[in-house]
């Protein structure tokens, strides 16, 4: 047994551990220091539009994570076959296909969600985070690394919009996942804040989030 391992190490370099330090950074970086929404300021449109309530936001997050991860994987697998001159169109076609699949599945199994999210699921196609990761990462990296990168960016997007939705639903509708929080604690006279239901509310929550985050990380715009 020991000789076997010895032989292997001589023949080829030891394989990189599945979650090496370098690979962990693919996931952790986008969560905070290189967050697609708060630092790169991408995907703002959907972050404003669908964060009125937690439930649709969660569905949207899952959809975006799914699309980023699989688009990254597929593009990474065929990256050597894709002709450079049409690569953007190829990326777009793959993203559009994945998004349409998500939309069709939602329509068949979660019709109410489909009606709420409607156009915004389709708009994942134009979410810059997805295309950005494909062009910047998946075109030049191996499939496994690309999956990790996709997960990182997807979760980076997801936790931001879920946080925004948490505050917007709490103050705008007085509930979390449609559970009436204020009524449950006996504060029945809580007046819901209409501003939070509007997109303006999302801008404000997002702005505060960016402020807090940048104060902590010390990130400055160059």
């Amino acid at each position: 047994m020991s000789t076997e391992t010895l032989e292997q190490t001589i023949v080829k370099e030891p394989a990189e551990p599945l979650l090496s330090k370098r690979r962990k950074k693919f996931i952790t970086d986008p969560l905070n220091e290189d967050n697609p929404v708060t630092v790169q300021v991408l995907g703002i449109c959907s972050a404003l539009a669908i964060t009125i309530k937690m439930e649709p936001t969660l569905v949207m997050s899952i959809a975006v994570v799914f699309v980023i991860v699989f688009a990254n994987l597929i593009i990474s697998l065929i990256r050597d076959l894709i002709p450079g001159r049409v690569r953007i169109i190829v990326q777009l076609a793959i993203v559009a296909t994945l998004v349409t699949l998500v939309s069709e599945v939602l329509k068949a199994y979660m019709f109410d969600m489909y009606k709420v999210l409607g156009a915004f699921v389709g708009l994942i196609i134009t979410n810059c985070i997805v295309m950005g990761r494909l062009e910047a990462f998946a075109m030049a990296n191996k499939p496994y690394d690309s999956i990790l990168d996709g997960l990182g960016s997807g979760f980076g997007y997801a936790w931001i919009i879920l946080t925004v939705a948490f505050f917007r639903e709490l103050f705008g509708s007085g509930s979390i996942f449609d559970f009436k929080v204020f009524e449950a604690i006996g504060w029945t006279s809580y007046q819901t804040n209409g501003l939070m239901v509007d997109s303006i509310g999302a801008f404000m929550v997002l702005g505060i989030l960016i402020w807090v985050q940048r104060t902590k990380t010390g990130y400055v715009e160059h």
């Binding site: 002709p83 001159r85 296909t97 199994y109």
Partner: protein, 254 residues
Amino acid sequence: MQRSNTYIIVFSAVLTIILGLLLSGTSVVLKPLQDKQVDLDNKKKILGAVMDISSIEDPNEILSLYEKRFSSIVIDINGKIVEKDKKGNPVIAEKVNIQKNYKVAKEDRLYPVFQFVSESDPSKVEAYIFPMWGAGLWDWISGFVAIESDLNTIKGIAFDHKTETPGLGARITSDQIKDRYKGKKIFDASGSLVSVSMVKGEKGLPLDDHHIDGMSGATLTGKGVNSMMLNYLECYKTFIEKTKKGGVSMAMSN
């Protein structure tokens, strides 16, 4: 690495075929499920115009409730009952596509009427529900208007829309807006059809029987709703007047 044009064309063609097959395959597999969902959603909306069904979770319960409380007919613009289409196939009210009918001339349209019948006596109609279709600000809007058995008072209303602005025009689906229609009248004292319309602005002032408060910031959606209501009530007018005189049972026996 620069690749030849032939390679690019072949690559694109293969990719297109694979993705195309994948998408059409999914669409074919999921179509029956989606149709079921659309049908359920439609019945929910019809029920929602006359009663509060938000507490019912089970789809089968909704479908059986619908079966029990609704009898539906299809009429033409003259208020006559249509039983067979041009090809001789029987017409089913639930299957009539309002959107497709909206695109043809008023005279050629099929108009479904969903009759909400009494729980104890299925021949007694408690409310008539008229589906309608129109244009909002961005895309289509639709509605189910429930009129009481006096054929004048609005019992309830349910709207739907494709992409009205969230928080502004999309408010037509909220209970707040829907409740404003309740109890309003579609005919004036002299008996001519005036419909119910939203005013511009949202001041919360008391208004007469034919007007309701508007939606602040969504005047154009409101205009769309107003013209949809008036348009379709005009089309249903003959039927309404005939029914008032008790003429529908006669038409039915024909």
